[in-house]
Symmetry: C2
Subunit: 321 residues, 2 copies
């Protein structure tokens, strides 16, 4: 939970006066979200989300994120739409931070994942990838292969503090992935962080995707691999092939997967597991007293990584090759 | 900031189905508030606040708080109104905790206090006290005189860790107050925690009072003393007599103060300062790693206490006797 910046009421009123949103009726910091400060803003025009971008989001990347949400919404993807002030700008400054208002999406993120969630997710992910085909901006994936090496060098040596032998295991995995990582899979805009708390449902229907602040240009199938990790393991970390099969088959019904993409899934899933393992490990080893966010356990992703490492091929996910 | 209990989406839907509120559209934990978990709940009927009562609120007190908000709202006080489920009950259970839905109040609490805020506050406080006259329930003040002694015994000996000499100063102050505390001032329902974050304004008008979970039966003038401490000191802890004068004069225009109440104000303000000093000291000395709430500095109230101790009479607050 996180609200890093407190907004003064006078400052907020002056800010909202730049928009055609009517009077500010309320503005409450939201406990969800880790990277930025988010507020539920109620005005005469309804509910909105006001985001203040904190230090971990690079200012130079913000125009990409804003343009992406705009583009996806125009393509029919249910996602937050940046609201422009009267001068046409969606990206402004508030309390010394970059700030934007986006539309409020109805729906709740699922706490307990049922197979129908994975089905809806697969379809929405494929629609997102297809909608991204006509988006003309690009952003390299900071947390891709080269980023893992940097993260490993920043914290890998201390991995043994979390689990004995983990430092060596990570070094071997990283070396393996650097050697084996695919080079020519279909690329495009990926969400790159499509965990359950970023996917809203109303009743059994997916109602929207949020939090595009890790979006970047990378292998489209890597986004599927992230979802396999984030959605298809049970709380006891057993892998649910029914969920994986639904996720991938509903994806393929909207965007067919090439044979090379399917074949690469176990490798991409290992890479994705390593990515979340390393960022969690980094945050775990660099906890600060008084932090507002509890770091997530890196060991969950150690176990996921090992699962993928043991697989013969994509059939092990329950996927029809 | 605090959301101690996470509510599952399925659990929430089942809970809301007991009310005539339509479909749950969203439910987001709010970062404000210290004692309980608060969620901004959006349904087909609009915005509401869902509160899960955490351990520091005694279950046995909840019917008092719910009935009080009901009563005050019926008397025209702008405060959250408990929403009753179809069976007529406002107080239920969710995630193993007592839970209630109340109406959403528009407005924002003031971060920088201007004199007009204190004027609005004085009038609203007097209206609250008058509306409470016809409320027939009572609740003793746990954090009154007897409570200070208990708090002091729990943490006073370690006060020197915060400031040298503070333990003795607190012991003397407590002994003095136990001896001098008034016995027969007008009593009634008081809010007992009317800090700026519990008072909402729209533009220059007070739009509502929230957070009645310290409300109790005590001297009405003690509530004024709490507000003098919470609203009339500047950030540098100098006392602003203009604000105090506005607060008290607007109060008196709605509910006249007896001579004994006016004369007791410096003493009541000392008691109120000691109350917040002791609870802050307790929280400061009992910080736990990973806590979601940063404790407030007790020394602010040491300085406020000393200010009141040095006064000859209520005239020093800028008040017309």
């Amino acid at each position: 939970m996180a609200v890093y910046t407190e907004i003064g009421d006078d400052e907020l009123r002056a800010f909202i006066a730049l928009y055609d949103l009517g009077e500010v009726l309320a503005c409450k910091g939201i406990a969800e979200g880790v990277e930025n400060s988010n507020y539920l803003l109620t005005t005469g025009c309804g509910n909105f989300i006001l985001t203040l971008y904190e230090k971990r989001v690079a200012r130079g990347d913000l125009p990409f994120f804003i343009a992406l949400m705009d583009h996806l919404a125009r393509q029919g993807v249910a996602c937050p739409v940046p609201v422009r002030a009267r001068d046409g700008e969606a990206l402004r400054e508030l309390c010394g931070r970059p700030a934007a208002i986006v539309t409020f999406l109805n729906g709740m993120w699922p706490r307990r994942i049922d197979p129908y969630h994975c089905a809806g997710l697969g379809e929405a992910l494929a629609r997102l990838h297809r909608a991204g085909e006509s988006f003309d901006m690009a952003r390299p994936n900071d947390l891709g292969l080269a980023g893992w090496r940097r993260l490993y060098e920043g914290c890998g040596a201390r991995a043994g503090d979390v689990q004995p032998g983990l430092a060596d295991e990570l070094a071997e995995e990283l070396a393996f992935l650097e050697n084996a990582w695919p080079r020519d899979l279909p690329c495009g805009v990926i969400h790159a962080d499509l965990f359950p708390d970023n996917v809203f449902f109303r009743d059994h229907e997916l109602s929207g995707l949020i939090d595009f602040y890790f979006a970047c240009t990378d292998f489209l199938a890597y986004d599927i691999a992230i979802c396999l990790n984030a959605w298809c393991f049970e709380p006891d970390l057993s892998f649910n092939v029914t969920k994986a099969r639904l996720l991938v088959s509903r994806y393929r019904a909207v965007r067919p997967l090439a044979a090379a993409e399917l074949a690469a899934l176990p490798l991409l899933a290992r890479g994705s597991a390593l990515r979340f393992l390393l960022t969690r490990l980094y945050d775990w080893l660099n906890q600060t007293a008084g932090a507002l966010v509890r770091p997530k356990d890196p060991l969950e992703y150690v176990r996921k990584l090992r699962f993928h490492r043991g697989l013969a091929g994509p059939e092990a996910y329950g996927i029809d090759p």
